[in-house]
Structure formats: C-alpha cells, structure tokens
C-alpha cells in the first residue's frame, strides 16, 4: 500500500470523475491501452465491489494492491485501479483470451482504426483448467439452461448438495443470462450468478464474465467469431516510445518456459537498440508481479517521452453491482452465522456472505464483548434453512436459524 500511496502522491493532482474501463482504440504499432488510476476508498467498500464497478477482476485489484485487506480495507486508503493493459502477443482479430491475466480482448475494425473491448474473466481451476488454443463461437443462447455435468453433480453430492440434472434460467443458474458456446465441446463463455468469482480460478474450464459485460460481448459477437485462448503471464509492449513490462503471477508449470520467452524478446530489443536494458528493473517487475505495465526502457533515447502517469478517480456515489442489504424486519427469519470477538473478522465473514451467488444479505451486530454476524432477513423458515444449508455447504459455517420476534 505504501508503494501505491507514494506513487500516487508524487503525481500532479489530476482528478477525473470517470475513466474508460472496457473500450479502447489501439494505435498503430502500439501495444498498451488504458490508464492506471487511483481511488480513495470509503467506509464499507470491499475490493470486489471496487473491482466490479471498474470492470476489473479480483485477481487484478489484489495483485495491484498487495497488503490491502480484500474484504475490510481501511476507509481513506488509496488503491490502484489497474486499468492499463498490454495486449497479448497474438494476431489482433476476433476474441483473444489471456488466462494468465484473466482478461478477454475482443478486437473490432472501425474503418481504418482498430478498437479493442476488454473484460475481466473467471477461468478454470488447476484440476479443471480452461483449454488453450484456437476455436470459434459455435452458437449463442440467451437465458441458457445449465445441463449439469456428471463430474460436477458428483462433487456437489459429496458435499451433501444434490443438484438436478438441469438448472433452468434464473438466479440459481451459474451460466447467468447469456452464453456463447465454443467449438471445443463443453466449453462456454458465459455470465454468472457469482459476480465476485471474476478474477478467480473457479470454473470447470468455462470462461465467466460479469453479467453486465457478457451482455455487451454477446451483442457484439457474431457466431463463427474466432477465439484464441493463450496463457501469457509476461507481456511486453510499447506506447509512446516507452517499453513496458506487465508481469502476472505465473502458474508453476508455465513459469520457466514463459520467462525464457520474455528474456529472449528483451535481449532482441536490447540488441536492436544497441543499449543495455535495466535488468534490475525487469527482475523487480517480474518478482512483484503486480499485473500493471511498468516502464522499463526508453526505446528512442533522449526523446523526452515519458510513461503515462496514473490519474485520480473520484469515488462514485454507488458502486455498480454492490450487494444490497435489506432493512431489518422483526417479523422476518434470520440465521446467526458467527459470533466472534474480533470486529474485522466479523466484518469479513459478513462481506463474504454478502458476496455469495445468489447473494445472502448479512450484517454485523456489535455485542458487549463480541460481534455477531446475522444473515437475513428471510421471508420464511424454509428460506432461512436454505440459507443456513448454503452457508454450511459453501462456507462450512454452522448457522443457527432464528425465528421471528413475536409481536403482541
């Protein structure tokens, strides 16, 4: 955090209300898009809420702000919004997905210029990874039905959660409202009923987008659009005569090979420029893996060109997609989810429950010597029991169902 503050405070004050987060022009011969920004947190903010509002994944915002509590960050803290991206080293056509950065890029020709729309994604786990390679969009569906694969049904059954063979459209459907079926059978680009999972390795190989992003992508993508899925944790690219390196935490398997590729590219640039690269800077950026483009080299020496500086963005009145917590009602049912001594622990538990999909409202009740996390309100006992069951299965929380207060 200190680093972010130092960086941010050393900049000339440049305050903007809004910042572009998805659609960027790609200048000829350039590889870096967007701008870094800084925002001051307010009370009750969580990094997943900030991430969603600015169309970032939780991976990106966490990596850019090491040491900041994801669920209970301090109000007033300034955090980096990593809204600058180096385009993957691929042909700029159709849809390109970089698994390492957990971002999707959609290229569009606009007359003579090139536009790119980019969205954060959730990708497959180590056990069920997203496949790399060339494929295309085979078909599209609005309000898709989820046909539960046998392997997933088995995983749920082991946890005591028996899934139906098919899940119809609605809040329980993990595909969300839109799906693009890929030519590689069984793999989809789809929405989600768990928006907080964007930027996580949490899928069974599919690619998830925020509900608001998948709608735009769905509308902009015709069937047969080529899709290229790559895994590039180290990206280099130039903008305005400055060479940048964007390093992400690599997977164990890809690290050595990808590093070798990076160093080979950098040595070629060094040879061509007939000047020595600042290798210390390269290694620092690689070790920190903050996922933001770091200027490492001035391509034309003495040109006076400088790396773009972050801007400060004002905090919006409301954060898009932030879970809403309904008002308390005496006649409602509740679930006591936790009773802990530490306030931050209670706030974290409440925030995690709030960000479940579908959401479960939760809040903290301070007691004289502890803090209670209460989930609810629920309309009836069965709703409360269902929430308690979800808390148990998904978060291993033993909730206690609380009956309504009897009003005489």
């Amino acid at each position: 955090m200190k680093r972010v503050q130092e960086t941010a405070e050393s900049f000339p004050s440049h305050h903007e209300k809004e910042i572009e987060r998805n659609k960027f022009p790609v200048a000829r011969g350039e590889d870096v898009i967007g701008r870094l920004a800084v925002i001051r947190l307010e009370k009750g903010d969580t990094l997943p809420d900030i991430a969603r509002h600015f169309s970032l994944g939780i991976n990106a915002i966490s990596a850019a702000n090491p040491g900041v509590d994801v669920w209970v960050p301090e109000a007033g803290e300034r955090i980096m919004l990593p809204l600058s991206f180096i385009l993957p080293d691929t042909p700029r056509k159709g849809i390109v997905v970089n698994l390492a950065t957990m971002r999707l890029f959609q290229y569009k020709e606009d007359g003579t210029s090139l536009l790119v729309s980019t969205y954060p994604i959730g990708v497959g786990t180590n056990e069920r990874p997203t496949p790399t390679g060339r494929m295309h969009v085979a078909r599209k569906a609005v309000r898709p039905t989820w046909r539960v694969p046998a392997s997933i049904a088995e995983d749920h059954r082991k946890k005591g959660d028996n899934l139906p063979a098919e899940v119809p459209p609605g809040p329980e459907n993990p595909l969300g409202e839109y799906a693009l079926y890929l030519s590689k059978t069984g793999y989809l680009i789809h929405g989600t009923n768990k928006p907080a999972s964007i930027g996580l390795t949490a899928t069974n190989g599919c690619l998830r987008l925020y509900p608001e992003n998948v709608k735009t992508l769905f509308d902009d993508t015709p069937v047969k659009t080529p899709v290229l899925i790559v895994n590039q944790p180290y990206l280099i690219g130039q903008r305005n005569g400055v060479l940048y390196l964007e390093a992400h935490a690599p997977t164990e398997q890809s690290d050595a090979l990808e590093l070798e590729k990076l160093y080979k590219k950098l040595r070629t640039i060094e040879k061509k420029a007939r000047r020595t690269l600042d290798w210390k800077k390269v290694k620092e950026a690689q070790a920190e893996a903050r996922g933001i483009p770091v200027p490492i080299f001035e391509l034309s020496q003495g040109s006076g060109k400088e790396a773009a500086k972050p801007i400060e963005v004002g905090h919006p009145e409301t954060l898009y997609g932030k879970p809403e917590i309904p008002a308390l009602k005496l006649e409602a049912w509740y679930v006591l989810a936790a009773d802990v001594r530490d306030k931050i622990e209670a706030q974290r538990i409440a925030a995690i429950i709030n960000h479940q999909g579908p959401p479960i409202p939760a809040r903290v009740f301070p007691k004289s010597d502890s803090y209670r996390v209460i989930a609810g309100p629920f309309n009836d006992g069965s709703e409360a029991k269902k929430a308690a069951k979800r808390l148990k299965i998904d978060l291993e929380i033993d909730g206690v169902v609380i009956e309504p207060v009897k009003i005489n």
Binding site: D69, V70, W71, G122, T125, I152, P174, K194, A196, S197, L200, A202, T203, N204, D342, I344, E345, R348, I349, I352, H355, Q356, G357, D394, L395, E396
Partner: protein, 122 residues
C-alpha cells in the same frame, strides 16, 4: 702570683657552687615538667587509644554498613535485573502474543479467503 692563683681558685669554687645550685632547681623544675608531660602523654595516649577504639569501632561500623550497603545494592541490582528480565519477558510475551494474534488473524483471513474461493465454484 699567689694572689692570682687564689683569685682563680676562688672563682672556680664560686663557679662550682653556682653550678651546683642551678642543677638542683632545674632538676626539680624539669621533673615537674616531666610529670606534667607524662600526664599529658597519658592523657594523649588515652585519648589516642580512645580515638583508635572509636576509629576501630567506626571502621567496623563503616565496614558493616558498607557490607550492608553492598549487599543492599547487590540486592537492588538483582531486583532491578529481575524486574528488567521480567519486563523483557513480559514485552517478549506481549510481542509473541501480538505476533500470534496477527498470525491467527492472517490465518483466519486466509482461511476465509480460501473458503470464499471454494464457494465461488459452480
């Protein structure tokens, strides 16, 4: 010549007589003085003895005091050392407890994060 000899003899006798008288008086005077001095010496001796005795007593007392002071100082130093050690121990314990608390908080946060990630799967 005889007159001269007589005169000399008379002078010798007179001188001898005069010497004899002075010696007796002086002796008494000296003896008196000696007695006084002796008395003074006795007194001085007694005084010295008393002073020595007092000094010895004082020295003994001082030695005892010194021993007691040393012992007290040693005890105080030991107390201080003990107190410092206890303070250090308490500080170390507090630091250990704080570190433990921080570690536990980190672990809890990590555990909560891991549970959250797990809950985000389909």
């Amino acid at each position: 010549m005889r007159k001269s000899l007589l005169l000399i003899s008379m002078m010798l006798v007179l001188a001898t007589l005069m010497i004899g008288c002075a010696t007796t008086g002086d002796l008494e005077k000296v003896q008196a003085q000696q007695k006084q001095i002796d008395a003074k010496a006795d007194q001085a001796l007694r005084d010295a003895q008393a002073a020595k005795t007092a000094a010895d007593a004082a020295r003994v007392k001082a030695d005892e005091t010194s021993v007691r002071a040393e012992s007290a100082m040693k005890a105080a130093a030991e107390e201080r050392e003990k107190a410092a050690a206890e303070r250090e121990k308490a500080v170390a314990e507090r630091e250990k407890a704080a570190a433990e608390k921080e570690k536990m908080a980190d672990e809890k946060a990590k555990k909560a994060g891991a549970a959250f990630e797990k809950s985000m799967k389909k």
